[in-house]
């Protein structure tokens, strides 16, 4: 059973179509990255998943239940764009409130456990108004976990958090996925973060899904045939000129000691290596260049930019 299934979801808000025919699935155990620029429709998708907005058309299910049903909401923990914590309450009181909403019988032990998981046990009785942004996000993650949900929906959980706070939040997310075995739907602007933690992604822009699939596979598909050869020392200018003149090698760029080639058909990587070695160059390493998520993201957004 899929953790999340969206089938041809569209959403009209006023005159504007915020989502158009959005379909994707998130498998159980995935850490799924949901990417897109501001106003692309990420938050609207999340609001539909959480039953806060009704889709104009299409169907959305969570672990087999329609998102409009209570059962679906009981299976989801969430951190929304704004953490939704009560400043005038302590961390414990915030969590107690949610355990009552979810009708948990004896939640004290669970509260203690999730506070430990996000390393806030020693600040449990402090008012949330005194917390830093990073601590608030960790508490929001703890709140998302209190009722032991199978799926976590996280909307920009590291937005506005300083780098060390981001690392802490990321650590908590990975713990939730790997130690607690949760499926995670992570909406983020932070491409580096998504690349570090997610195994599958979808890219939404102007309400439409532009890219969707396994991150590694997408990286491979988008990489082309580029090869990076690292040398022990930066190569001399005459050799560089010679390599450039051999157009079939397809020398793309030189960055310090790294040369990037996109060889034409028929040219094998060992041929390039032999050529360099023959010119007295010492090779440090050879690797097939993998497109970064940032490169894929930029390329997709450029493709869809109106001319």
């Amino acid at each position: 059973m899929d953790a999340i299934r969206l089938e041809a979801i569209s959403k009209q808000l006023g005159e504007r179509e915020v989502l158009s025919d959005v379909s994707f699935t998130v498998k159980q155990g995935d850490i799924f990255g949901y990417l897109g620029p501001n106003g692309a429709g990420k938050t609207t998708t999340i609001r539909i998943l959480l039953g806060l907005l009704q889709p104009t058309s299409g169907k959305a299910t969570i672990l087999g239940d329609d998102v409009s049903r209570d059962e679906a909401r009981r299976k989801v923990g969430f951190v929304l764009e704004s953490d939704g914590l009560y400043d005038n309450k302590t961390a414990e009181e915030n969590l107690w409130y949610y355990t009552r909403i979810y009708g948990m019988a004896e939640p004290a032990e669970r509260i203690d456990r999730v506070l430990s998981l996000v390393e806030l046990r020693d600040r449990a009785r402090d008012k949330v108004g005194t917390y830093s942004k990073g601590m608030r996000q960790r508490l929001a993650l703890a709140r998302a976990m209190t009722h032991n949900p199978e799926l976590l929906v996280l909307d920009e959980p590291t937005a506005g958090v300083d780098p060390s706070g981001q690392m802490e939040v990321r650590e908590v997310i990975l713990n939730m996925a790997h130690k607690e075995g949760r499926t995670i739907f992570l909406s983020s602007h932070n491409l580096d973060e998504v690349q570090r933690v997610c195994n599958r992604i979808a890219l939404v822009d102007r309400g439409e899904i532009k890219l969707y699939g396994e991150l590694e596979q997408l990286q491979r598909e988008r990489s082309g045939n580029e090869v990076e050869i690292e040398t022990t020392e930066a190569i001399a200018e005459p050799l560089l000129a010679e390599l450039k003149s051999l157009s079939r090698l397809g020398l793309r760029e030189r960055k310090g000691k790294v040369l990037t080639f996109a060889p034409q058909e028929g040219v094998r990587i060992p041929d390039i290596v032999s050529l360099l070695v023959g010119r007295g160059v010492e090779i440090e390493g050879v690797s097939k260049k993998e497109a970064s998520l940032e490169e894929i993201y930029s390329a997709i957004l450029k493709e869809v930019e109106p001319s």
Binding site: T43, L53, S82, Y97, I101
Partner: protein, 253 residues
């Protein structure tokens, strides 16, 4: 139902720990003490002149009727106008309302819980204040000099039941508007209806002396409560999570 009780419990706790409660109770307390001291003294000095019971009774009933109508009205109105908007405005602007609605709570449960959390403390304060004023008027002035305890049954029903029911329906209408539009609109509705009602009570009490303690007036209050209740119920049918979310900050995000 269970979700509504959770919201009620949480919001009641917030109200009881708020500074605004202390301020409201202090102001109302000072006014009630002044009324509970001043009115019996005035009544006592008038009754000491020995007017006949038949002559004094209508005037005493009017005094009790005015107290039974005005005190709960002013107290309920002040509390509701103070508490009805600010917490919801903050929750909508800072995000807790969106998080609440993303749980299995229903929009209706949130609405009823929040409305009751405003109404119940206001009702308890109003009831206490009214009882203090009516009891001191009777025990300190009327009973010792006339031997009678004056509290017309119709006025009692109006004061302790029908008027509070009207105010409960009013706060429920106000909270719906606070949830699905700008919270200031909800507050404006409560203040507008409250002020109009105070004017009506003042005008009616001054012109038709017997009316405030009559069953007619009690039933007008009940009819008003039923009418507002029906308006609240009908509005609640269009109360959805989507409307609350879209009226909150950052709706197009």
């Amino acid at each position: 139902m269970k979700g509504m009780l959770v919201v009620l419990r949480n919001d009641l706790g917030d109200t009881l720990h708020s500074k605004s409660l202390l301020i409201v109770v202090s102001i109302i307390g000072a006014l009630i003490v002044a009324a509970a001291v001043g009115v019996p003294i005035a009544l006592h000095s008038w009754l000491a002149k020995g007017p006949a019971w038949e002559e004094a009774k209508p005037l005493l009933e009017l005094c009790i009727g005015l107290a039974a109508n005005y005190v709960p009205l002013i107290v309920l109105f002040s509390c509701m106008a103070t508490w009805a908007t600010d917490p919801i405005a903050k929750e909508k602007a800072k995000g807790p309302i969106e998080s609440l609605l993303a749980t299995p709570l229903t929009a209706r449960g949130v609405w009823i819980g929040k409305s009751l959390a405003i109404f119940l403390p206001a009702y308890i304060i109003g009831l206490s204040a009214t009882l203090i004023v009516i009891l001191t008027m009777n025990l300190a002035a009327i009973l010792p000099t006339t031997g009678h305890f004056v509290l017309p049954l119709a006025a009692a029903f109006t004061s302790f039941l029908f008027l509070p029911l009207f105010m409960l329906a009013l706060v429920m209408v106000g909270i719906i508007f606070s949830l699905i539009t700008n919270p200031v609109i909800g507050q404006t509705i409560i203040i507008f209806v409250g002020v109009v009602l105070m004017q009506v009570v003042g005008q009616v009490g001054g012109r038709i002396l017997w009316l405030l303690t009559s069953w007619d007036y009690a039933l007008y209050n009940l009819a008003g409560a039923v009418l507002l209740g029906m308006i609240a119920f009908s509005l609640s049918r269009s109360l959805t999570k989507e409307k609350i979310i879209l009226s909150s900050k950052g709706r197009w995000a």
